[in-house]
């Protein structure tokens, strides 16, 4: 038996997973010590976010034997973080999360190296993300996920048979929590749906119509947003509202109370005011612990190819508060007095464009974990082959950048353009802008070495739900008439 002759690693549990073949192994899996040691020595994992999920992720990944971790987070520690971000202490308030988190985990787990990055994810060069075999996300916003998803999927290339090229696939493991609810999912660009493919899964952001706020408020939140979005400007024209300034918050609270009294609405509290204005996400330690651990398990499986990756979406849901998500209220099999295991399968036909398989294990709506399967969108802007643009060989880089703003699928402003490892034009920082400015007047075709077609990556800002967000897109460029010109030349690139 393999175990008696192989040196036991410190984490013998991992040995169990990797030193034996199992029922659910992928065809590529070869059990053995070599695999396990490689995993621990060489795999570089990036954790995005050092908050509720990030702290737990770093701990779990380190304890699971990963030796090379990096973590990126732009925030500093606040008192309200301490109820769940257990790596931080009261005296750490004000310090960068990424740096303290890295330090604490390295103190507790020997042999792991964690490099912290105290900055925004957009501040990193795209090549920074290329070096990691897996990116694990512990984020709290749709925008941030969308950006990282576009970066990771941006590396994806397809071969002439429209199959994803394996070396360009960069998997992500995405976790998210809110109160007792949480999810964990695996994204393998080119195979599973990416974040953009099923962005419709997220409930729409709550936005109150202005007329409701101005004329017909019904809830405490309406009163608060009236004070925050309308009354503030009327009274303090010119002065920007600062949610971190207690005086500003108190003012909004007082106004909201007045308005609520006027309309006979209950429930305006200072705490609710803060919650609505700052869009506070309620959060507890245990949900973060569970979701992070599930993400860690999936990361282990992905890296070692040793078990069929959980059908790409695991949701751990706690019916503590009323759950609008599923609307299932009683056991459909109608079993009488005992709360047995109930299992049923729902199939949604492909005419809807999606295929869902849901298996639910539900004991009187206590706690359940379900596994769901989704299908990727072949025209996805992030993980698809990329928006196709046909260009004349005479089109300049400047003209190309202007076109991106108008293109209906992109609407991308202030674009920076990158081809292979080269920055063709960078809007920022100033030094790079000056260096690349001269490229703007040159034909893009020439800047790309006269290839008839290839992929470029563009970054810029776009509008989503009336909010400006950073955006990255992969574009397939085809130069009209170029084939005839370069037939005799060696083609460069795919």
């Amino acid at each position: 038996m393999a175990e008696s002759t192989v040196h036991q690693s410190r984490s013998r549990d991992l040995d169990k997973l990797l030193l034996r073949p199992g029922n659910l192994v992928a065809p590529t899996f070869e059990p053995g010590a070599q695999l396990r040691d490689d995993l621990q020595e060489y795999a570089r994992i990036l954790v995005v976010g050092a908050g509720g999920l990030g702290c737990e992720l770093l701990k779990d990944l380190a304890l699971s034997g990963f030796k090379n971790l990096e973590v990126i987070d732009m925030d500093r520690i606040e008192v309200t973080n301490l109820n769940r971000q257990f790596l931080f202490r009261l005296e750490d308030v004000g310090k960068p999360k990424a740096e303290v988190a890295a330090k604490r985990v390295m103190e507790r787990v020997s042999g792991v190296n964690i490099v912290p990055h105290f900055c925004r994810i957009e501040d990193k060069d795209i090549d920074f993300y290329k070096d990691f075999i897996i990116i694990v996300l512990g984020l709290d916003s749709v925008e941030a996920r969308s950006y990282i998803n576009a970066v990771a999927c941006g590396f994806l290339e397809y071969d002439s048979d429209d199959k994803p090229i394996e070396e360009t696939v960069k998997p992500m493991v995405d976790g998210g929590t809110e109160g007792f609810k949480g999810h964990a999912r695996v994204i393998i660009p080119g195979s599973t749906p990416c974040f953009e493919c099923i962005i419709w899964l997220f409930p729409p952001q709550v936005k109150f119509p202005l007329c409701t706020l101005a004329e017909t408020p019904r809830t405490a939140a309406h009163c608060i947003e009236y004070a925050h979005l309308i009354k503030w400007d009327e009274v303090h024209s010119g002065k920007t509202f600062d949610p971190d300034d207690p005086e500003h918050m108190k003012w909004v609270y007082t106004e909201a109370v007045k308005r609520a009294e006027l309309f006979g609405i209950q429930g305006v509290t200072y705490s609710l005011t803060q919650g609505v204005v700052k869009n506070i996400i309620p959060a507890i330690a245990s949900t973060n612990a569970i979701v992070s651990a599930v993400c860690t398990l999936e990361t282990l499986k992905l890296v070692s190819g040793c078990s069929k990756t959980l059908s790409n979406y695991l949701t751990c849901v706690e019916f503590f508060l009323i759950l609008l998500y599923f609307g299932i209220s009683s056991c459909p099999s109608g079993c009488g007095n005992h709360n047995c295991l109930l299992q049923y399968t729902i199939h949604v036909t492909e005419s809807d464009g999606i295929m869902l398989t849901i298996e639910m294990y539900n004991g009187m709506e206590g706690l359940h974990i379900k596994v769901t399967e989704f299908v990727k969108d072949k025209d996805c802007l992030a993980c698809g082959p990329g928006v196709l643009l046909e260009l004349d060989t005479s089109v300049t880089l400047q003209k190309f950048i202007d076109m991106l703003e108008e293109h209906p699928k992109l609407l991308l402003s202030k674009a920076s353009v990158r081809y292979r490892a080269m920055n063709l034009y960078m809007q920022a920082p100033q030094v790079l802008e000056e260096m690349t400015r001269s490229n703007l007047n040159l034909p893009l075709f020439e800047l790309m070495g006269k290839v008839p077609k290839d992929i470029v990556h563009v970054t810029g800002t776009t509008s989503r739900d009336d909010k400006k967000t950073s955006c990255l897109r992969k574009l397939r460029l085809v130069f009209k008439g170029a084939d005839a010109v370069t037939d005799q030349d060696m083609a460069v690139g795919a």
């Binding site: 659910l24 612990a289 503590f320 706690l367």
Partner: protein, 323 residues
Amino acid sequence: MVGEELTEQETALYDRQIRVWGADAQRRLSKSHILVYGMKGTITEFCKNIVLAGVGSLTLVDDRAVTEEALSANFLMPPDENVCSGKTLAELCRDSLNEFNPMVRVSVEKGDLTSFGAEFFDKFDVVVLSFCSLATKKLINERCRKLSKRVSFYTVDCRDCCGEIFVDLQKYNYAMKRQDETTECELQYPSFQEAISVPWRSLPRKVSKLYFAMRVIERFEEAEGRKPGEICIEDLPAVLKLKKEICEAQSLNESHIPNALLERLVMGAREFPPVCAIIGGILGQEVIKAISGKGDPLKNFFFFDSMDGKGIIEDISDPNPKG
């Protein structure tokens, strides 16, 4: 901490979770007293979660000395042996847990848990046992049930990459919320002894295989006089033989307990860190629900197997309880 209202410090620190379960529940948490036994990976995860949640006090029992094995899977232990030497597992964990939330009183109780009498258990609202023998589970459970006040009782075991939680809330009343309606509910929980005495053939066909497998391992360790987890691959033939005997006695088809699963459990006496975090997280939620009186509690077994990633609740109780 002990007063009726939350202090300003508590309100600031617990803001994000008060938004989840309310100030009332937070107050009840801050008055609760928890006892845990067996400071292995899953329990330390559980302790982290409830200390962060702000329980009143946490008492740890584990007189074992620190080992290298404990250090590698247990986040509460600094890897420096100099810091560890001379201390028991419970003492080391107490020092770390204090750091997570200075407002929670974390203490250590030394001695054999089975020798403590009713007055001892009466001090607690929640008792959690980890890596206990069958006999100890039954004994402590009965001792808790004999008290006039309700002591919520839990056992937890993680082996290989699987986990099992057992819950006994005795008679439990709570308000169940569905859509906009609230209904008063009463649940009647069996004791551990009662639950495992339910004849196997009367259980639903699709009951988790892990339930049966854990019972076989439990019986084996008891029959051989082993400590929990004191089992290895050489024991597998004897375990399989025992499985056959039990299945026959219970008129249960042997296919309900795959040999491969038993093999995994026999070889995997050690815990796996991510599974500890999942089970410790779920256990944390259950204890918080029981203390706060909010939310639907789990009844009465929970199983998790990371090979398929599924978490299953099983209600294993006599369908016709007496009384």
